[in-house]
């Protein structure tokens, strides 16, 4: 039972990070039909930038966290302006390839600035675990879960109740119709890149703080986004959240229960097995719309 709870908790913590990254991916896909392959690099860059701020200024983690979010928003705006806008009107596949190139460039920039070895992250959370019933839980995990939950709630409220959030959903439904009401669609795209960069960066910072170090492997979290969004549905925000948590938990359960039996590796394979099974029943993912709209 204790193992079960421990695995479940680990799964939710990691799954929450997956959910953040997947959310960014879905937001860009919904608003512009683009698959952004640089999502994992946004995560990695966020962790490095946060670390740099902590090292240079010695501000508390919360301040560095918020500053990094501001940086990511600015980065999203900049990328939209200098990388994506010039490609307006080009075939979608070309633009998608450009995001692949963007991921390489971001990786290279990080290595050039901060090297490729693991850099220690200053301790953020108190080290002694909290007892949840019989279960010792690290404080970092709880903070991370709380932080992810808060971000997800804020974003949900944003999409449901603010003018800008509604305009983003309207644009996702149809760019032409959104344009016809005077919604500045290009600014909406820029905003979607900003949000995508910021939520991923948040994931990266939490990971960095929990692991106590950052390195280039953080970008691999971007790869996890593919099974997550296919599972949840490419165009569904709640799907991204559910998909992230499910994949996170599945990974940990198969790591904990199957790995001892098969001699390792189940953790990495399980999400894809689950993916295949779920897609056989629900080809558009758990929450996706059947008529995949090209928006």
């Amino acid at each position: 039972m204790e193992l079960f709870l421990q695995l479940l908790l680990n799964g939710l913590v990691v799954g929450g990070i997956y959910a953040l990254v997947a959310l960014g991916f879905v937001i860009i896909y919904k608003s512009s039909g683009l698959l952004n392959f640089a999502q994992g690099e946004f995560l990695m860059l966020g962790a490095y930038v946060c670390l740099a701020i902590l090292e240079e200024t010695r501000v508390p983690f919360v301040a560095a966290f918020l500053l990094t979010l501001v940086f990511s928003v600015a980065l999203g705006l900049l990328l939209e302006r200098v990388v994506l806008r010039p490609l307006l009107g080009q075939p979608l596949i070309s633009v998608i390839m450009v995001t692949l190139g963007l991921s390489s460039v971001l990786k290279a920039v990080v290595q050039a600035l901060w090297g490729s070895h693991t850099r220690p992250f200053p301790p953020v959370f108190a080290t002694e675990p909290v007892m949840l019933g019989p279960l010792p839980v690290s404080q970092g995990y709880l903070w991370s879960l709380g932080c992810v939950a808060l971000l997800l709630v804020l974003l949900t409220l944003f999409f449901r109740f603010t003018r800008l959030g509604l305009a983003m959903r309207a644009t996702a439904f149809s760019q032409q119709v959104a344009l016809s009401m005077g919604i500045p669609v290009r600014r909406i795209f820029a905003l979607s890149w900003s949000i995508a960069a910021a939520v991923s960066a948040a994931g990266g910072m939490l990971l960095g703080a929990m692991r106590g170090g950052v390195d280039g492997s953080l970008a691999f979290y971007g790869l996890k986004v593919i099974p997550v969004v296919i599972l949840g549905g490419m165009d569904s925000i709640s799907g991204a959240i559910a998909g992230g948590l499910i994949i996170g938990v599945l990974e940990n359960f198969s790591g904990g229960y199957l790995d001892p039996l098969v001699g390792g590796g189940a953790k990495d394979v399980a999400p894809f097995v689950a993916l295949v099974l779920i897609l056989m029943v629900k080809p558009h993912g758990l929450f996706g719309t059947a008529h995949a709209r090209r928006v």
């Binding site: 305009a167 016809s180 005077g182």
Partner: protein, 265 residues
């Protein structure tokens, strides 16, 4: 606005407008028309004549589809507007209600209306106009919290109109408001269009396949064919003209030619 002339300048004027799609396909070939302030003008013609393209040229929505105004001019309130982005045009008072009642299906009725007023920031005014929308279309008031995707065809068309009203435009461009709407509801929608024109003083430029209902509420009508104007006249005259039937249904060259000689000269 009228200046020294006794005849006031029209609200909207197209002068010899040419539209090319994808750099090669000529859709409008020197189309001219004018829409006086406060009027309802019907734009009729067969499928593919360029009616929707005309509206998109005015509202700036051509760009998103690879179309471009290559020559001629479009003036609104005496200023050139061709080439301006749609958001500027909405702010200037032109609102395009696109064909096929394109409501935001995943947004509620109320949220759809809010999107119609996106360019405005005067909250009290927006609240007033929302109330007015529910007055014109009581069914929308009853369904304000429902997702627009669950409305019937007629209700979606009403929502598309309500969304236009929320922007407080001077000119509404309407593309086929009768499309996919039950005949009884079509009558109701056109009655409401006339009411909106009279009560809100909103000018309407109306593209319609159903010439009978369009001419019943319009003051003036144009018939276009293959991107050119072939007929124009008072709505009542056009409605009485037998050749109009043939012209807007795409009926043979003969009808068109006869019409041209009889009405334009």
């Amino acid at each position: 606005m009228a200046g020294a002339l006794s005849v006031p300048a029209p609200l909207l004027r197209l002068d010899a407008v040419e539209v090319v799609y994808d750099g090669a396909i000529l859709v409008l070939r020197g189309l001219s028309l004018s829409v006086p302030e406060g009027s309802i003008v019907a734009l009729l013609g067969p499928n593919g004549a360029g009616k929707s393209t005309t509206l998109k040229a005015i509202s700036g929505l051509l760009r998103g589809e690879g179309g471009k105004v290559t020559s001629g001019s479009i003036e609104f309130l005496g200023e050139r507007i061709d080439g301006l982005p749609p958001e500027d045009l909405v702010r200037r008072g032109i609102f395009h209600v696109m064909e096929g009642r394109r409501v935001f299906e995943e947004l509620t009725v109320e949220e759809n209306l809010a999107m119609g007023g996106y360019t405005r920031h005067d909250r009290p005014g927006l609240r007033r106009d929302q109330a007015r929308c529910y007055e014109y279309f009581p069914i929308l008031g009853q369904r304000r919290r429902q997702l627009a995707g669950y409305l019937s065809g007629g209700e979606q068309q009403m929502l598309a109109l309500g969304r236009a009203l929320m922007a407080r435009p001077r000119l509404i461009l309407l593309d086929e408001p009768s499309l996919g709407v039950a005949p009884m509801v079509v009558e109701e929608i056109f009655r409401l269009l006339r009411r909106i024109n009279e009560e809100e003083k909103t000018t309407l430029l109306l593209v319609e396949q159903n010439a009978r209902v369009a001419l019943a509420i319009a003051h003036h009508g144009y018939v276009i064919e293959s991107g050119r104007m072939v007929l124009e006249g008072k709505a009542a005259d056009l409605a009485g003209d037998k050749t109009v039937q043939d012209a807007y249904l795409g009926g043979g060259q003969q009808a068109g030619r006869r019409a041209r000689t009889s009405l334009i000269s």
